[in-house]
């Protein structure tokens, strides 16, 4: 995925109760079809297809629900091809990944994100599409780190700097 944010920011940036960082994965593929494609996806990636609003993980690969009959695969694999009604589109550079971790992660996200990310409403491996400060984001809840929640934001590459600017300015005044 896009490494664009490294051009603009010293990362990670650590605040009192929240830390912002960026992660990248070698490739991101959009998998989609026009009808039930679960079998084709499973055959291609060897991983259980996630339920609506969920993420599944196998090793270093993740399969992210992205809408009806549409998934995003983050993977090391560099060459995937269309097969049997399953269409594979390269989206590797389309999005940047921002990690937000810490006790104040939810408080930071509340400053712009209009979805409920409390434990009960947004469990580990949940994914939702929303926006922050008018910028479209995909929000994934990763596994906690020693009790601290970790959220991963996928943002379109062109808006990544603006979003990170907004998050960093908000984080600086959280506490």
């Amino acid at each position: 995925m896009s490494s664009v944010l490294y051009e603009h920011f010293q990362l990670p940036q650590i605040f009192t109760a929240v830390q912002l960082d960026v992660t990248t994965t070698p490739a991101m593929w959009q998998l989609e079809g026009y009808t039930n494609i679960d079998h084709q996806v499973q055959a291609l990636v060897g991983m259980t297809v996630p339920d609506r609003g969920r993420v599944t993980k196998l090793g270093t690969e993740r399969l992210v629900w992205f809408g009806r009959d549409r998934y995003f695969l983050t993977t090391q694999r560099q060459d995937l091809h269309d097969s049997d009604g399953l269409y594979v589109t390269n989206q590797t550079y389309s999005r940047a990944q921002i990690l937000i971790e810490g006790e104040a992660a939810r408080s930071l996200l509340a400053r712009g994100l209009p979805i409920d990310v409390a434990d009960a409403a947004f469990a580990v491996s949940d994914v939702k599409h929303s926006h922050i400060n008018h910028i479209g984001v995909t929000v994934i809840r990763n596994h906690d780190n020693a009790g601290s929640p970790i959220f991963e934001l996928w943002v379109m590459r062109g808006f990544a700097k603006s979003l990170m600017d907004f998050l960093l300015r908000s984080a600086a005044t959280l506490c």
Binding site: E32, G33, Y34, D69, S94, R111, R157, S162, R169
Partner: protein, 988 residues
């Protein structure tokens, strides 16, 4: 009024300094500006809006009508702050407002004196509308500036607000609006269910009317209960308490808007609250009595005078007169008397409850029943009041006499705070028992409890709150908990007998903040403004920052009397959010200055910045407009860049184009329906220009589409339509043709894109990417190849927007700058330059290509001379309605080229095309100019435009008129293809 500190109340003993109009004063922790000013003996805090009458503290809460102050200075100056809501902090600067030079000696108070001499006319409602009509030339030159200087409420700061504001999304299961006894009880009970609860309280302290009760040993039982409730809630992990937070709006979907003052690194927060259930416990506001000079400093709402005493430890006067028509104000008399303050109660009721009469007698309080206060007297503040006996029919008075006092506490009843409940469009209904309005039918998931529901008794209000909590929790699948009730009840029985105004002459203020009197209301009635909505706008009643909390019911009742109808029939104005002032900064949040809106960057943005590009905002992009060299203007630069591309080679960032992949076995069928021309016949690895129409037959967008495989297409759209075209495609697939096996998705962000154009473009690219064959045989016009450069995959289309041989290079976004720099490096020997949007525009106008300026939603295929592109072998979106007679009218304006007769004279975009230079332009408009540029190749200003019957008028000289600037330019009508009409260059 000569207030003084009489004890600690609930405040701490620590003192600190603040200033009022530059004078140092002391305050205690917990003081508001109002209580601190009173404690320092400040009587006149400012002057009124219109008449510049002296104003002091009238209340202790959000309903404050008199004590408006300005806080801070410079960029942090904040006008019109309600002194009763603002905590004092060390060093706080407080200023009086609406007065000069001082609140006690205000030269503008001449307004009041003149008005007093000419009662009922000068400065009354409608005065400005009627008085400043002639001459019209004076309206904006003299009248408006002069009136604005004289009127208004304080002055805003000139500097930009330096503070930070956050917009926060808050989520909860149950939102409790109001932190009085009912609100505390609802929150306590709900919290025990484990559900998430947010409690909002606009004051600094929780407790509501309980804060009016004495916290001393005798009455400490209620205080203990309050404190215990607050401690329990603060300890509950599932409860969020937001004090100094006003809920100012209730919207669909159980969404609340709230405004929190925090004064930290961030000054204020705007909370958008998403609640499962809402319990409104917003309480009630005490209404004033309407008598002459009821706005004078020293006239306070009775419960507020009591809170000043019991909560802030301030006696608001030495001699008290209580004027009431209900039971509640008696508590103020009892508490002040208990502190040894001389007290007289004037009750307009002839027979107040016997227990109150007995209590007055027991405590040595004089009581006058069936009496009224006609007038408050005193220069700056109350020093005397005029009393009288009210006749049994309430229309006349006898036995007038004058009584000395410096504090007049009054109560005309209580108005439940129904605004939030009414925001759902619910109509408030007048309730005779409490003489106020209540919302009869609440929105779903919403309950109103306690005084907000007209229930003033402590226990009964709490019971309502507990019932609401139980129902709310039940509906959310949980069980509300039990709570410990307060140790005793507080009787809320009002036994009110309404007295809407004292039947006497004088300035009887109804809306104190806006100086609206009973005379104004009567005048509005006489002039026909009898609807409450008209009354509000004609008199400005209820439009100040207290939003008529104290004024509205009295005003409606007076209008009802004027109209001889019931208050219910008179009705209320519609309640609209916000119900309290909200700082604009809180709405804006972080979207200020350079962060006003997100910026969308292309992968080559940093290169453009390093190379000194001048940017122009296009949507959220900042596109390079031109790349100036030393000393160059915009005109110099774009002419140079345009010439260079025509003669040599240039490179342009076109990442801004929308990019959509269309996949599926029915992709070709789908695109045939979307575009006017055939895409199903397009061979793999070829590109084709296409146009799509809206359903109404007008041109929607254009672009090129490339076939990458039998079942995969790569579509580009214009920058402006990138997202709407994708939405259009998705809508067609979801709604129109769900049977088609097609998926569409945006790949705009994945690809960086750049155009290399000019006679040397082929050589440049061949030099840059030696492994790819750029020869025409291998890559003909409209051909597509894929290749690699150092393992970076390239998609190269040979298409042209400029009219020169040109290529579009698409590459994964992270490699965009690498490839750009590679092309620049390889093109150096061919003298490559970057060119910007301005030059791009000049090139395409010379070539006659249309873009958003021409495809503005009003043109047809015929208008842009492209009707021949429309396939006759298939149906496509817009085909049916493009046949409408109006769209086929041969006289419709057609796309033409326009060339200045004097080549040095520019043609203004937006000009109207006329045939007679001397005719009023709009009289015979025959078209318009859509875009213009200077053409270096033709050495002339040229333009594209639409002209009636334009294709048959080549060679005709007409005029491009720009009436706004009184400019008219002679232009020759020519083909829109100014250069290379045979289209040879692109195929070179």
């Amino acid at each position: 009024m000569s207030a003084y500190r009489i004890g600690n109340g609930r405040l701490g003993e620590a003192e600190f300094i603040f200033t009022f109009d530059g004078h140092k004063m002391t305050a205690r922790a917990g003081d508001t500006v109002a209580s601190a000013l009173l404690a320092n003996g400040v009587e006149v805090i400012g002057r009124s809006f219109k008449y510049h009458r002296p104003r002091g503290v009238t209340s202790s809460g959000p309903e404050e009508t008199g004590a408006l102050v300005t806080l801070g200075s410079g960029a942090r100056l904040e006008p019109n702050v309600r002194a009763t809501m603002e905590p004092v902090s060390e060093g706080l600067e407080v200023f009086s407002q609406n007065c000069w030079p001082t609140p006690t000696f205000d030269l503008w108070s001449v307004n009041s004196l003149v008005s007093g001499l000419l009662p009922g006319s000068l400065l009354s409602a409608g005065f400005y509308y009627k008085s400043f009509m002639w001459p019209a030339a004076f309206w904006h030159r003299l009248y408006e500036p002069a009136i604005r200087r004289a009127a208004g409420m304080a002055k805003p700061p000139r500097e930009a607000d330096p503070d930070l504001y956050d917009r926060i999304n808050s989520f909860c299961d149950i939102a409790v609006v109001g932190g009085g006894a009912a609100g505390l009880s609802a929150a306590l009970s709900s919290a025990q269910s484990g559900l998430r609860v947010i409690l909002f309280e606009e004051n600094s302290d929780l407790g509501g009317q309980l804060l009016n009760e004495p916290p001393d040993a005798i009455n400490g039982d209620l205080e203990q209960w309050r404190k215990s409730a607050v401690v329990s809630l603060m300890a509950a992990p599932n409860v969020t308490i937001l004090t100094r937070t006003i809920c100012w709006g209730c919207f669909d979907g159980n969404t609340l808007a709230a405004h929190e003052c925090i004064d930290g690194k961030v000054r204020q927060n705007y909370h958008k609250v998403h609640a499962g259930k809402i319990i409104i416990a917003a309480g009630a506001i005490e209404r004033p009595m309407v008598f002459a000079n009821n706005d004078k400093p020293g006239v306070m709402l009775a419960a507020s005078a009591r809170r000043m005493l019991n909560h802030y430890g301030i006696a608001a006067g030495h001699t008290l007169v209580v004027f009431t028509n209900n039971n509640s104000a008696y508590q103020t008399a009892f508490d002040y008397r208990a502190h040894g303050i001389s007290t007289l109660v004037v009750d307009s009721r002839c027979k107040p409850p016997a227990k109150l009469v007995a209590a007055c007698a027991k405590q040595g309080i004089q009581l006058q029943t069936g009496g009224v206060v006609i007038q408050a007297r005193g220069w700056h503040g109350v020093r005397k009041v005029v009393l009288a006996d009210l006749s049994s029919d309430g229309k006349s008075m006898t036995r007038k006499r004058v009584v000395a006092c410096d504090l007049l506490a009054h109560s005309g009843g209580w108005t439940p705070q129904v605004q939030m409940a009414a925001h759902g469009g619910m109509v408030p209904i007048y309730n005779q028992k409490i003489t106020a309005f209540l919302v009869d039918k609440l929105p779903n998931d919403t309950w109103s409890v306690g005084a907000a529901e007209g229930e003033n008794s402590l226990y009964a209000g709490i019971q309502q709150a507990l019932t609401a909590a139980r129902l709310a929790c039940d509906e959310l699948g949980q069980t509300a908990g039990e709570i410990v009730l307060p140790p005793r009840d507080l009787d809320g029985e009002l036994n009110i007998e309404p007295l809407w105004r004292v039947p006497a002459a004088g300035k009887q203020m109804v809306d104190i903040q806006h100086d609206v009197t009973t005379d104004d209301i009567m005048q509005a009635h006489l002039e026909g403004y009898v609807s409450v909505e008209h009354l509000k706008r004609y008199t400005t009643l209820g439009m100040a920052n207290d939003q008529g909390r104290t004024a509205n019911v009295n005003a409606l009742a007076i209008m009802a009397q004027c109209r001889n109808q019931t208050i219910q029939d008179t009705g209320t104005t519609r309640f609209r959010p916000p119900i309290a002032p909200v700082t604009m900064g809180a709405f804006v949040g972080r979207a200020v200055g350079e962060y006003f809106q997100p910026v969308r960057r292309t992968p080559m943005q940093a290169w453009h910045e390093r190379f000194g590009a001048v940017f122009v905002n296009v949507g959220l992009y900042r596109r390079p407009q031109y790349y100036p060299r030393v000393g160059e203007t915009l005109d110099d630069a774009y002419k140079r860049e345009t010439t260079h591309v025509r003669q040599k080679v240039g490179i342009c960032d076109i990442t801004f184009l929308g990019k959509i992949e269309v996949v599926g076995p029915d992709a070709a069928v789908f695109l045939d329906r979307i575009y006017i021309n055939m895409l199903s016949t397009l061979p793999v690895n070829k590109a084709r220009y296409g146009i799509m129409l809206r359903e109404d037959g007008f041109v929607y967008d254009d672009g090129t589409t490339t076939r990458l495989a039998e079942d995969r297409y790569f579509m580009t759209t214009t920058t402006a339509k990138a997202s709407s075209v994708l939405a259009h495609l998705e809508r067609c697939l979801e709604i129109e043709w769900p049977e088609l096996k097609v998926r569409v998705s945006s790949v705009s962000e994945h690809w960086a894109a750049m155009s290399v154009a000019g006679p040397a473009s082929r050589n440049t690219l061949q030099n840059a990417f030696e492994d790819i064959d750029f020869a025409s045989e291998a890559l003909p016009f409209m051909g597509v190849v894929h290749g690699q450069y150092k393992n970076i995959i390239l998609r190269i289309l040979r298409i042209s927007f400029s009219g020169e041989i040109a290529y579009e290079i698409y590459v994964g976004a992270d490699h965009g700058e690498t490839i750009w720099e590679r092309i620049m490096e390889a093109g150096a020997k061919f003298n490559i330059i970057p060119y910007g949007l301005e030059s791009l525009g000049a090139l395409r106008i010379e070539k006659g290509h249309v873009t958003g300026s021409e495809l503005d939603g009003r043109v047809t295929l015929g208008d842009v001379n492209l009707e021949a592109m429309a396939s006759r072998k298939k149906w496509f979106v817009g085909q049916n309605l493009m046949q409408r007679p109006g769209l086929k009218n041969p006289n419709r304006p057609r796309l033409v080229g326009l060339r200045s007769v004097d080549p040095k004279v520019p043609i203004a975009t937006g000009s109207i095309l006329v045939t007679d230079a001397n005719t009023e332009a709009r009289a015979n408009s025959e078209g318009w100019v859509s875009s213009m540029t200077y053409s270096p190749e033709l050495d002339s200003f040229i333009a594209l435009g639409f002209l009636c019957n334009g294709l048959n008028r080549y060679g005709e000289v007409i005029y491009a008129a720009y009436p706004v600037k009184r400019r008219i330019v002679a232009v020759e009508v020519v083909s829109n293809h100014f250069v290379d009409r045979q289209n040879q260059r692109v195929k070179g």
